[in-house]
Amino acid sequence: MKTIVLNTLEEGCDSEQISTLIKGDDMEIINTSDMKIAHCMGCNLCWLKMPGICAIKDDYEGIIKKLVDAENLWLVSDTRFGFVDWRGKRVMDRIVPMLNMYVEFRDGLERHELRYHPLNFGLLYKGKADQEFLEEWSQRVASNLAGQSLGVYHIRKEGKPCM
């Protein structure tokens, strides 16, 4: 079970800490703070012109290639306005090429078909946020990826999880 961890924190939680928080046999932590990643611009080219390939040529393409081999995805994010901050949301908005344009009903809702395979999704967050809201968001994100929610955990100041 390959696990990809996208650490979007600017500071406060390094790879060593994260690997004590998330258990996985085959885990890769990607620190995105020094990577070049643009906002998804909603162009739809990854669905309708170059299926599966993002039109934005930056460091996210490498992340997509890794996700194709993974079964679990964790987001490590700071928070703002009770939700993940824009840096955390940015790496999730770019996940669109993992799905394709076709639609189906899944769990009773309209969903895009998976381009590859299901992905489980979990969230580690820092700062003051609405735990219940984040749990529902993670559930919905996982459902879009046809996977399970791996849970939502608050990282305390000293880097210890509230699990």
């Binding site: 611009m41 909603g42 669905w47 599966g52 194709v68 703002r80 306005f81 824009w86 009903f105």
Partner: protein
């Protein structure tokens, strides 16, 4: 009434479904004697002016598409640049739309938007929620024209309604969403007929865009 409208979509204005919705909505504002300023966050050169307008006006509407179950990251980034306290009271309202037509898909984001104004020193003026907007971009396609014109015209009516009520906290705005989920009969019809038609439509759009690969291509396998 003077309304500041901020388009929170990252897509360039020319191709923005949110912009099409806004253009229809402001026709209603103008027909009711109101004026507006519009800023698009997809153009970073407009951010400073958008922020200045946010601070100095009292009626603000953010219009946005649903991105991965919540607000697009570009809009979150802009929101972080706004002051959290303000001297002039203001009302923040929202026009939220998304590709799928089920209202349920937009509700979590709506909940986030409800909580937002208070964190920026504003009051909440409601959220106009409607899905099914993917095809707006395809409205030049003859087969889609009629449905999409009707959809956009409904936003013009909501522009008028916004001026007469001062917010989206009305029964009319509530009803604007349509069904929360599709009934079982739609699921059945989808499996039997609609799915094939929808697939064909997507393939036709892709062809118009010059796509030469299958839509379910797996380029990284």
């Amino acid at each position: 009434m003077h309304v500041v409208i901020i388009n929170g979509s990252p897509r360039v204005q020319k191709f923005s479904n949110t912009d099409k919705i806004i253009q229809s909505f402001v026709k209603g504002l103008q027909a009711s004697g109101s004026s507006y300023d519009l800023y698009s966050l997809s153009n970073r050169k407009e951010w400073d002016a958008a922020r200045a307008s946010f601070i100095t006006h009292d009626q603000i509407i953010f219009a946005l598409p649903l991105f991965v179950e919540c607000v697009p990251s570009i809009m979150l980034e802009f929101l972080e640049t706004l002051p959290t306290e303000r001297q002039l009271p203001a009302q923040m309202s929202f026009i939220l739309h998304g590709g799928f037509d089920e209202g349920h898909q937009l509700r979590l984001c709506e909940r986030f938007l409800q909580s937002l104004p208070a964190q920026l020193g504003c009051t909440y003026g409601g959220c106009l929620v409607q899905g099914g907007s993917f095809l707006i971009r395809m409205r030049d396609d003859e087969k889609m024209k009629k449905t999409m014109t009707k959809k956009l015209d409904a936003y013009t009516k909501m522009g008028q309604s916004f001026v007469s009520n001062g917010n989206f906290m009305t029964t009319e705005a509530g009803k604007f969403t349509g069904p929360e989920k599709n009934p079982w009969i739609v699921h059945l019809l989808f499996r039997l007929f609609i799915k094939r038609i929808v697939r064909k439509n997507f393939e036709r759009f892709a062809q118009q865009w010059g796509c030469t690969r299958p839509l379910d291509d797996k380029p990284y396998l």
